[in-house]
Symmetry: C2
Subunit: 337 residues, 2 copies
Amino acid sequence: MPENVNRQWILKTRPDGMPKESDLDLIESPIPEPKHGEILVKNLWMSIDPYMRGRLRDGPSYAPPVAIGGVLQGESVGRVMESRLDGFKAGDIVRGHIGWQEYGILGITGAHVVDTSLGPISTSIGVLGMPGLTAYFGLLEVNRPQAGDTIVVSAASGAVGAIVGQLAKIMGCRTVGIAGSDEKVSYIVDELGFDAGINYKTEDVSVAIAESCPNGVDGYFDNVGGEITEAVMPHFNLYARMAICGRISEYNDDLPSMGPRVLRYVHAAQATVEGFLVFRWADRYEEGRSRLAQWVRDGQIKYKEDVVEGFENSAKAFIGQLGGANFGKLLIKVSDE
Amino acid sequence: MPENVNRQWILKTRPDGMPKESDLDLIESPIPEPKHGEILVKNLWMSIDPYMRGRLRDGPSYAPPVAIGGVLQGESVGRVMESRLDGFKAGDIVRGHIGWQEYGILGITGAHVVDTSLGPISTSIGVLGMPGLTAYFGLLEVNRPQAGDTIVVSAASGAVGAIVGQLAKIMGCRTVGIAGSDEKVSYIVDELGFDAGINYKTEDVSVAIAESCPNGVDGYFDNVGGEITEAVMPHFNLYARMAICGRISEYNDDLPSMGPRVLRYVHAAQATVEGFLVFRWADRYEEGRSRLAQWVRDGQIKYKEDVVEGFENSAKAFIGQLGGANFGKLLIKVSDE
């Protein structure tokens, strides 16, 4: 491969429903040059997250969509190759929205030096990065668990869900996870210490919630939406708190799909449902990161990485994730550290 | 009519969908005798409320259902005819769940002396009673309006909605009401001072919300659920607060009806949706009542009573209310004061 090549994944056509590999394109460009106030970063580990599906849609959202022909967005951790930005030097490990490309440019607002003493580099975009912080703030600030509460989490073996469940255990809660295979259910119960797990593909979720939550549901951390959520909500206790973190089952729907009207359960239980994005707590990331790192060091929080080797496999991995194929935090290993 | 007659409305058959008059029965019984610790109360004004539909259904709810053959439940204000309870004497005006009957028995936990200096007797079960307190606590504690916010309320000319909108105006909010006739819309705008009104029977609610809420929706006080609510939610601003007070459009559904999955809007706006029952603030009723009474005296809160004369018309009035026929706080005038 010639030296001055930057492979990039771009958006070719806006997906209709589940994205196809042909909606994206892998192209080659020259490696960009950093301008004054910028750094050139070589991508080492790239995070693949379900929310990116929303960025492929043209329409109002909390972030602007990817343009046709534009490089796909996403957070990565990489090595500074060249710095024209004070406070950064070649060799530094930085985290930021490099995008789906082998080399990217970051500026002062987008580059964050990674404290490599906290854990392996890849954890800076996993358990100690956005997924871990999402679990930490969403559970503690929105679900507000009390010892003895029953907390249910969907997509429970995923990058966020697995941390939510372990945090709920640390908080003294009964913790029940919903996942998409017996292997994932075994993992959350046997490896992570959840009190119970439900395989939504083989079990009636409503019946299983009734059985595994004999005292009802006090908190629900929702990553999936749709039918699974509609099966959980009727089991809410008085003053239950539901945190909406993601709605992966609905991300491919341009228009809302139909379901039973569930707000009756919110009324009856005097429950609270709150949507959140982790950016709300940006001024507290260091608190969250240091507490998570301590729990990881103590062995109270375990994490699982689902590593896909090779940048060329990114699109396939992303599509697989939207269908529930990954198991653990999905990472593309773009190049050797 | 013979003297020792107590007319009562009882539940004959559980309604399937919208109740029919034949589901209820008007019977005659002897007037009961109060035991030690009880009072006999003559019903003067009886409140008819949509939530009573839920009490006719056999199933879990926040209150036990009315039994087949049982007297329908509801709050009234009446006059003590005979007291065997300390602190109450014949002639006192009391408020309580007398039920759908001309005479009822109340005990120490169910009888509340009415401060008749605050307003006409009937207001003790209207603007100064449960409907007014529901508006007061739901708006202030759940919607938490700030000056400059845009507040939307459904069933806006109703006993609760009309107070919500006027309180929102007092709080300095832009206030938009949704109601079911041009006459009701004129009333809330021209008489009550709402900034805008929407007739959901003749207008596209989503389009009308966009027009009447140019800065989006910060708070939504929901009395109706269903399609109207589904048209409002996409207009939520960041951190919008929705208070679920009632779901009258869904009360006749034994199973949840289907609608678009709206929790995506809660997620995108990082909104909060909270169900509530006014009983949560029982220890603050006096605060609410005295503030409401002051606003009524000052002319800042107006109220409208929809008085149906004659106890025998109760069932018809209740069924009409579920269909949106009433205009203002629906009261049965059971007997002269």
